[in-house]
């Protein structure tokens, strides 16, 4: 990842936050619309949760050797 990649992503995020706090400030069709930057939080936390939950389940019982069914 080069620096300008991060800069582009940062600009996108900031632009979305600006839009959220200006155009969507009184938008409340769901309960979570009251939480600022909710979708950013949900995206970050959801991503981490998925990675660690799948990793845990994989270790627990899902992942197995490639020759599992041949043995």
């Amino acid at each position: 990842m080069k620096n300008w990649h991060w800069i582009v992503l940062g600009i996108l995020l900031i632009a979305s936050l600006i839009l959220e706090f200006t155009y969507l400030s009184d938008y409340a069709s769901h309960w979570w619309n009251h939480i600022p930057a909710f979708y950013a939080l949900w995206g970050g936390l959801g991503c981490a949760a998925l990675i660690f939950i799948s990793k845990g389940l994989g270790k627990f019982f899902i992942l197995s050797d490639e020759d599992y069914y041949d043995a």
């Binding site: 990842m1 992503l9 996108l12 995020l13 632009a15 979305s16 936050l17 839009l19 959220e20 155009y23 969507l24 938008y27 069709s29 769901h30 309960w31 979570w32 930057a37 979708y39 950013a40 939080l41 949900w42 995206g43 970050g44 959801g46 991503c47 981490a48 949760a49 998925l50 990675i51 660690f52 939950i53 799948s54 990793k55 389940l57 994989g58 019982f61 899902i62 992942l63 197995s64 050797d65 490639e66 599992y68 069914y69």
Partner: protein, 575 residues
């Protein structure tokens, strides 16, 4: 009558499957594309209504029921068969070409069938024809997987047929119409039969087992046809069945977790199908007009981007000979075009604005919002994050961009494969920037507007943060040479014991029975060789042995005649 049958698009494709072997090899690939093009034109121009009735026994079968819903599915099935035909243009395998055409014919037949019998027949044609696309890979692994695939689908077809028979015997109509949510035996069997083809867990394991073992070109047809034709049938039969809302959410998350764990690129894409179909099943469960439009639009878009992704994965396998992330890496510079086209599909499936996934996903979440189903919205968003993680980031990163893990040659890819991917990517972008082109084909009129500031804000934040999460946590993702255990464990692991009980044991029992029967038959035939020996046993008279078979021929004849006379006399007395 025969000529009327030619007005059925499905029959055109199935006829094509029989005509192909009669054509010279050099024009077969062109002919392969001609048939679905013809079917596409027919689907496009057919008027609405029940266009063709056929009498069968005491029933009137509806072979061609056209309405808005069946037309849009017919269009996409025919279109993807054309694109698949372009992708497979270099293939010289007649078996694959014919079975792919018959398979697509089955899907179109299901789409336009107006009664359960027609539906069931085309349903089974699909199962049988698609199995060959797995076997055509011609290695031991795919031979076994193909057999499992076929057996599971025969089982699924059996469930569906049981449901249909129960439905008919309880006074239900032969004609296809939506079924009221009631858990009668007939409905449950039909739902299970359809759910198996829709890949609803725990009936889904055939998909991730079979698709990655199909041929490079066969997988493209498979990822487009079987599950989506089942989604179509589900929209027809079970709209508004509330159980499907949560079934769909579970599917979406389930497929995501397995896709995140997988090491084989086509297994990642296969589990991602299950995840995507979860969205459609959820929408079917809601059952509102917007939701059914959303399910239809998402199935349409899904077929385009998923086949594009499978085509790109096929290109990787074609070029390198391997499909495992644990063996790939470090050749991004050698196939920039393929990566670019793959990323169009990957960002479409992740719901990036101005690509086609966005215009149908927002429709489904809009329908969920209207129905005030808040948790399903949030959980489907988790599945969206996961989709971006495995298809949009994990797969391309570990396939092309990480350091090289093993040595492999990268051979060049036929132009026709690139052209087919280009067509797929074109439609991803076209419907992404001009969603109205898709919306006017949907079964219900809609003024839905996907490009809202709210939707842009939502998807931008989700995708940017998911990307950041991937970048910092990517070392926790599995790329080791492993497989994932799924519900196929229940029929694969005990296979040895099952084989013993159902094959070896009956085989041995029949062997023993055969032995006994043959010995018995031998004894009986010995008896009939010379019955005189038994009727008149040898005896000793005056110290001399008299053998019953030792008489002269004339003496034997006389004795036999006397015996015969006695028998006649006995019969005469008795009766």
């Amino acid at each position: 009558m025969m000529l009327e049958l030619l007005s059925v698009p499905a029959i055109i494709l199935i006829l094509g499957a029989f005509v192909l072997p009669l054509l010279p090899e050099r024009i077969r690939s062109t002919a392969f594309i001609t048939f679905p093009l013809l079917a596409l034109a027919m689907v496009w121009t057919m008027p609405e209504g029940n266009l063709l009735q056929v009498s069968f026994a005491s029933y009137e079968l509806e072979l061609l029921s056209v309405d808005g819903l069946s037309r849009i599915f017919g269009i996409i099935f025919a279109l993807i068969t054309v694109i698949g035909g372009v992708y497979a243009f270099h293939i010289k395998d007649l078996g694959q070409q014919s079975s792919a055409l018959a398979y697509a014919g089955g899907a179109l037949g299901v789409t336009f069938s107006g009664d359960f019998f027609t539906l069931f027949i085309f349903w089974e044609i699909m199962a049988a024809a698609s199995s060959y696309l797995i076997w055509a890979r011609e290695n031991e692994e795919s031979a076994k997987a193909g057999m499992r695939y076929l057996l599971v689908h025969i089982f699924g077809g059996g469930l569906l047929f049981t449901g249909i028979l129960l439905h008919l015997s309880s006074g239900g109509s032969l004609y296809i119409e939506s079924i009221e949510p009631a858990y009668s035996a007939a409905n449950i069997f039909m739902l299970l039969g359809v759910a198996l083809n829709t890949a609803v867990p725990p009936l889904h394991a055939w998909l991730a087992d079979a698709y990655p073992k199909a041929t490079i070109t066969g997988a493209v047809f498979m990822c487009a046809l079987t599950t989506k034709s089942a989604v179509y049938v589900m929209i027809r039969l079970f709209p508004g069945w509330e159980i499907l809302i949560w079934v769909g959410v579970i599917m979406a998350i389930y497929g995501t977790i397995y896709a995140l764990l997988a090491n084989d690129i086509r297994i990642i894409l296969a589990y991602s199908i299950i995840s995507q179909i979860g969205y459609m099943v959820t929408a079917i469960g809601i059952g509102s007009e917007l939701a059914l439009n959303g399910a239809t639009a998402h199935a349409f878009n899904h077929i385009i981007y998923k086949s594009l992704l499978f085509m790109a994965a096929g290109a990787v396998i074609y070029a390198t000979g391997t499909s495992k992330l644990s063996e790939l890496g470090g050749f991004a510079k050698k196939m920039p075009l393929i990566i670019g086209l793959y990323m169009v599909g990957a960002l479409s499936i992740s719901g990036m604005p101005f690509l086609n996934g966005f215009v149908s996903k927002t429709m489904i979440s809009g329908a969920l919002g209207d129905a005030h189903l808040e948790w399903p919205i949030l959980l489907l968003l988790i599945a969206t994050i996961g989709t971006f993680l495995h298809t949009g980031l994990k797969l391309p990163y570990f396939t092309w961009f990480t350091e090289k893990k093993t040595e492999f040659e990268v051979s060049s890819i036929p132009t026709n494969m690139k052209v087919a991917m280009g067509i797929g990517a074109f439609f991803c972008i076209l419907f992404g920037v001009a969603p109205q082109l898709l919306y006017i084909q949907l079964p219900y009129a809609t003024d839905f507007q996907p490009f809202s500031i709210y939707n842009f804000v939502e998807m931008t934040q989700i995708l940017v943060l998911a990307f950041a999460g991937f970048w910092f946590l990517k070392k926790h993702l599995n790329v080791s040479s492993t497989i994932s255990l799924d519900t196929d464990w229940f029929y694969r692991r005990p296979a040895v014991a099952v084989r013993y009980v159902f094959v070896d044991l009956p085989n041995n029992l029949f062997g023993v029975a055969e032995d006994i029967t043959l010995k018995l038959a031998g004894k009986l035939s010995g008896l009939s060789k010379n019955p005189m020996r038994h009727l008149l046993p040898s005896f000793v008279m005056e110290g001399r042995e008299v053998k019953s078979d030792g008489f002269t021929a004339s003496m034997s004849a006389a004795l036999a005649f006397i015996l015969f006379g006695f028998l006649v006399a006995i019969l005469f007395v008795l009766f």
